[in-house]
């Protein structure tokens, strides 16, 4: 089964194959978790919890996937909606973004000063700007792919990415127009 493409795994998973769904989880877990870590803020455990919910919703909703080739965008769309729900509920607590700064584990190999500056800048971005930045700048998605996954107009994604990038670079010591 090693030569199967992703669409084949999706079809097999929809037919009830657990190994096929496990393969999809294995393939996409890093992208979904990375996206949620950058978009949600908070601790990485929270992002992983939402990522697991995302895969559970995907498992339940595989029949609603229209194009087997569009699994990645569809999955990130689910992750984005779950993240929005989580952000909305967390906004009831004004301390959320401060918690982000306190709870996020320090990644290795980067300066703690840069990390703090980056986290502060990310926490100041609106959630949909964060999502665009996470997909296009961090994961290398095209603006068109991000627009499909996030359900945003293409022009909005482009402006969000440009604005978010400028804010982050400024926070790291660059200029606004970098």
């Amino acid at each position: 089964m090693a030569s199967l493409g992703e669409a084949d795994w999706v079809r097999a998973a929809r037919a009830g194959s657990d190994p096929a769904f496990a393969r999809l989880v294995q393939t996409h877990q890093a992208a979904v978790r990375g996206f949620l870590r950058r978009t949600l803020g908070g601790g990485w455990a929270e992002a992983d919890d939402v990522a697991q919910e995302t895969f559970l919703v995907a498992w339940r909703s595989l029949r609603s996937l229209k194009s087997d080739e569009g699994f990645r965008s569809w999955l990130l769309g689910i992750a984005w909606r779950r993240a929005q729900d989580r952000i909305r509920s967390a906004r009831r607590s004004a301390a959320r973004d401060h918690r982000w700064l306190e709870e996020a584990p320090p990644p290795g190999g980067v300066s703690p000063v840069d990390r703090l500056a980056m986290q502060r800048a990310m926490s100041d971005l609106a959630p949909d700007v964060r999502a665009c930045v996470a997909l296009c700048l961090a994961d290398g998605w095209s603006h068109g792919e991000a627009a499909v996954a996030l359900g945003l107009p293409l022009g909005t994604v482009k402006s969000h990415v440009a604005r978010g990038r400028a804010r982050l670079l400024t926070a790291l010591g660059g200029s606004d127009d970098a």
Partner: protein, 97 residues
């Protein structure tokens, strides 16, 4: 090091590993738990229907009597038939392969 490079390094530091068996196992556990709930929910209408049927036929069964010697064999036979039927039904309905 330029701000652009630092930005990419910071993004890279947040990227999860390409394989994470713990995460994958937790997803599999949550899927299995969800499937168990779905199974129980699917069996509930059948259980209710059987309960109603038994309640309906109870007056007729109550009038029947078996010789004491035939009770163990009859019970064993009934259990074997019910078990076989349940196995056949569940293997077809809930196959995950």
């Amino acid at each position: 090091m330029t701000p652009e490079t630092r930005l990419q390094d910071l993004f890279a530091a947040e990227t999860p590993p390409p394989r994470d068996l713990g995460f994958e196992a937790e997803v599999a556990r949550r899927v299995a738990a969800r499937r168990a709930v779905v199974r129980v929910a699917a069996l509930l209408p059948l259980a209710v229907a059987v309960a109603v049927l038994l309640w309906a036929v109870r007056p007729y069964i109550a009038g029947l009597t078996l010789p004491a010697a035939a009770i163990p064999a009859t019970t064993a036979g009934l259990l074997a038939v019910i078990g076989a039927l349940a196995l056949v039904w569940m293997s077809g309905r809930f196959s995950a392969a």
